[in-house]
Amino acid sequence: MSKKVIYGIYDDDDVILQAVKDIREKGVHINEVYSPFPIHGLDHALGLKPTRLAITSFIYGCTGLSLALLMMWYMMIQDWPMIIGGKPNFSLLQNLPAFVPITFEMTVFFAAHLMVLTYLIRCKLYPGSDQKSPDPRTTDDMFLMEIEAHGNEVEIVALIKETGAVEVKEEKIA
């Protein structure tokens, strides 16, 4: 049996959001939605799980904080203690006020950069990556819904048209 993907193209974000809700209610699985800007509530309507990026960022931040303290403890307290400006150098705790700025900066540095890297890796975004949308107009003013058909393309096309699509395209995939 040949598989087909059907693209429903919409010209309004509210219409496609409603369409996603209606089509999913009928039990049809939506592969993907491509849009020129983030549509609020679309992730929920598509049944996407919430992203855990913020959690990773928190973990990276904690890593940065610990590394900063470890580094400063080793260099200033353990390896080569020096009294500078009368600041106490015999325990981390007593020297801590002077270490606050760099601890903070390294926390932010780690949390931000490692989160960005995680984001790029998870979305497979890198120079030379070529995961284009099926229609170039989806970065301009069009919204595209992709549904896979298993012999029921006639119903799906009808369903997409019913929900307000301005254009429907079909494509065969292996």
Binding site: A98, V108, Y126, S133, D141
Partner: protein
């Protein structure tokens, strides 16, 4: 969906549709540069080259070619450093703090303001590096194992805090800016006709496709980065102010410095955003997106932060008197009435009095007047740093070593050079980058554009 009152002024004028926004943002990139662009570019480029020559001369001969002397060890270099870092602050404030406060007017100005941040911090970084005298050894500020025994950098020093703060600030601002640029580069890629343009923008856009899951992550990423960048931007100028505040120099040793410097940074940064955007909106025809309303909002920020700076100046004077410390009192008396009185009063006039005109609605919605004040504020904030640094140093505890500072042509050349470099970068940016965060701007077409307001009125 974002709801907005119909009586609130629209942020997008002229009934722009989604496609119009695409066209308007892509036009400067796809079109040819006009005569004005080339004139400005060549002018900035020659200033930059002159500055590069002065830097090469400094590096080759030593910082003796600057006007510094034994009493005044910091002058134009650190003045320029603090001035440029301060200018950078507005970009992060607009993109991060206004995002957390859900201020939708940031959307048409955040991209350019952030570009300005990055270009300004690049200029700032040059000064401390060249002030080291041997800039090729600049990596010695990093905590690297070395062959001088177990000698490490000094983590108690605010100058080292600065190294960490500025480099974190520069790199985090850069990735924050770039993550927002990816969807906009994809837009340029998808409509590019020439194969070479398509190739370049498809590399720059990292293969962005606009999937629902990616947008979900994108929004989370922006929010968390904004949450990280907000304390970061406040910390950076706090730490810059600690370069002064933690030393025991009368005039520097002040606990008010961190909030006072941060307010001053926002003040000067918004002035620079005004200077740049007032020209840019005209040259690349963005009047429908960067409206009088945006200019007015920024002028209000300038007025508020300018007044905070004014309060800080007066508090400093009061505390100097109230402290009863003779040296502290003299430092401030000398600032206002000593040989550098003209710099002090230039600072007072430009920073405290001039923003007060913005109380008038007529003046703060006037483009010509705003442009004039933005230049005045930038001059004033340069003088503020000059006053703090040079007047506090030039008369130290020993009257026999009292001295005056006068810049050499190299000092002036490097400063002019950084202004040239800054404009070279900004002009190149304005021709090759989407100058408005169009993907995000498109989200408010239904709530904040003229057609949506008219619909709501019906």
């Amino acid at each position: 969906m974002h709801y907005e009152s119909p009586i609130r002024e629209p942020l997008i004028l002229e009934d722009k549709t989604l496609h119009d926004i695409t066209e308007d943002v892509a036009r400067p990139i796809e079109g040819k540069a006009n005569k004005w662009w080339w004139a400005l570019f060549l002018f900035s480029l020659s200033a930059f080259l002159w500055g590069a020559g002065c830097l090469a001369y400094t590096a080759g001969t030593g910082i003796g070619v600057w006007g510094l002397n034994k009493t005044i060890g910091w002058a134009w270099d650190i003045t320029n450093f603090v001035w440029w870092v301060g200018i950078g602050h507005a970009g992060t404030l607009i993109s991060a703090v206004l995002l957390l406060f859900r201020q939708k007017w940031r959307l048409s100005i955040n991209r350019s303001a952030e570009a300005m941040t990055i270009f300004a911090v690049v200029q700032a970084g040059l000064f401390p590096i060249f002030h080291m005298g041997r800039p090729w050894l600049a990596y010695w500020v990093l905590p690297l194992p070395n062959n001088f025994g177990s000698l490490w950098v000094n983590f108690n020093s605010p100058l080292l805090w600065d190294v960490f703060a500025i480099s974190t600030y520069l790199t985090v601002s850069l990735v924050f800016w770039y993550m927002g640029l990816i969807p906009d580069f994809a837009m340029i890629r998808d409509r590019a006709v020439k194969p070479i343009t398509k190739k370049i923008y498809s590399i720059l856009s990292f293969g962005w496709s606009g999937r629902a899951k990616h947008w979900q992550r994108f929004e989370e990423l922006s929010l968390v980065l904004a949450g990280l960048a907000t304390p970061l931007v406040l910390s950076v100028h706090t730490i810059v102010s600690m370069d002064f505040a933690t030393s025991v120099i009368p005039g520097w040793h002040t606990t008010i410095f961190p909030p006072y410097f941060v307010a001053g940074a926002i003040f000067s940064g918004f002035a620079m955003v005004q200077t740049l955007l007032l020209v840019m909106r005209k040259v690349v025809h963005m009047e429908a997106y960067i409206t009088i309303k945006h200019i007015e909002y920024m002028n209000i920020v300038i007025m508020v932060t300018g007044s905070i700076v004014g309060v800080a100046y007066i508090t400093e004077l009061f505390i100097a008197w109230y402290s009863g410390v003779e040296f502290e009192q003299y430092a401030f008396l000398n600032r206002a009435t000593g040989p550098y009185w003209w710099a002090y009063w230039a600072m007072m006039t430009c920073n405290v009095f001039s923003p007060q005109f913005m109380w008038s609605k007529k003046l703060r919605t006037s483009i010509a007047f705003t442009f004039f004040i933005s230049i005045v504020v930038n001059i004033g904030m340069w003088f503020e740093r000059f006053v703090i640094i040079v007047t506090s140093l030039h008369r130290d505890y020993l009257p026999s070593s009292w001295s005056m500072f006068s810049p050499t042509f190299v000092d002036i050349g490097i400063f002019i050079g950084t202004i040239g470099f800054f404009f070279v970068l900004f002009l190149l940016y304005a021709r090759t980058f989407p100058v408005i965060a169009q993907a995000e701007l498109k989200t408010i077409v239904k709530s904040s554009s003229t057609q949506s307001k008219n619909k709501a009125h019906e």
